[in-house]
Symmetry: D2
Subunit: 105 residues, 4 copies
């Protein structure tokens, strides 16, 4: 993504706020693919070729802007995710929260 | 993430629509970190320890739900991103689009 | 909202991109309220006092930034919505689309 | 919007989670209109006919789903917004916060 950006001289557009808006745009396209599907049918429907491919493209777009944003912010994304997951494992002990939806509010 | 989910029996909550909403929640927290910063100061401000750490946590949360969603949808996220990037390279030849913002509309 | 902003001299922060990010932040908080609720239980659960109040607050926040954004962009929001709804009525004739989810893709 | 929905028998699709995803889709389209514009040029560019009209359409779409969601959740949106604005006026006294960006974190 860094090479792709430099070859096109697009770094000038990639300030954090613009990249977050681009990320939001892709998340919006992802949401549109699933919005009207019945919740309990979504996984099955996503096995069909067309939706599977479309969903893959939108997930990819989200990842691409996420990686680019991490690069611009000088954040090691994989390391951050592993640390977050370790933190969540400690905060939500399996034996205590088993089967209950986490309450964010 | 898959192990983390299974240990807590949280797979029952992870249908695609719910996971996209969780992703939206994390993107929203990311947006809040940057919303009022002047666009041209955001990168510098994100070098400060506190914002750097908070941004890392929010990017991590987005990645975690993205990876989980890809798993639920049986999508190879890395492969999808590489294919998307190859497609974009072909659609936007460097010599033609150099320095121009891509027009999505 | 305009008076509220001027009294605090916050107009300097309210460029369109910043306001959209603020809107995204509020939509994210709204999403978090509903993300883990079973789809078919969400309306009933939202009748409970606490969630009803929280949802009202988040919907309000979204509306507030939306109205502020329309003001900054010099857009008559009510007029735009009525025109959009008339357009959708023409594009989706009731007798043709009755009971079918609209396909955006 | 309620009449529009009933005429098409689309109420069956309008559970809260689906409507939030639809809202997210429209916010994403709004974000895409502004993502690559320089922050300090966005208001001027939005005076141009094409962007002004597109922005109006996307703001309208966001409002339409927001109003529909409020209806489904039995929330008085205007009342909620006025109460929220009164609360914010009390929380952020003009003389104390004048000219400072509100800190959400």
């Amino acid at each position: 993504m860094r090479v792709f950006t430099e070859e096109r001289d697009w770094g000038q557009f990639h300030d954090p706020k613009s990249l977050i808006l681009a990320l939001v745009g892709e998340v919006g396209e992802l949401a549109e693919l699933f919005q009207w599907l019945p919740a309990d049918a979504a996984v099955d429907r996503a096995r069909e070729d067309r939706l599977h491919e479309r969903a893959g493209e939108e997930l990819a777009d989200v990842l691409i802007y996420l990686v680019r944003l991490a690069d611009v912010l000088d954040i090691d994304l994989a390391d951050a995710a592993l640390r977050k997951l370790r933190g969540s494992s400690a905060r939500f002990p399996a034996e205590e929260v088993r089967g209950q939806a986490p309450d964010k509010s």
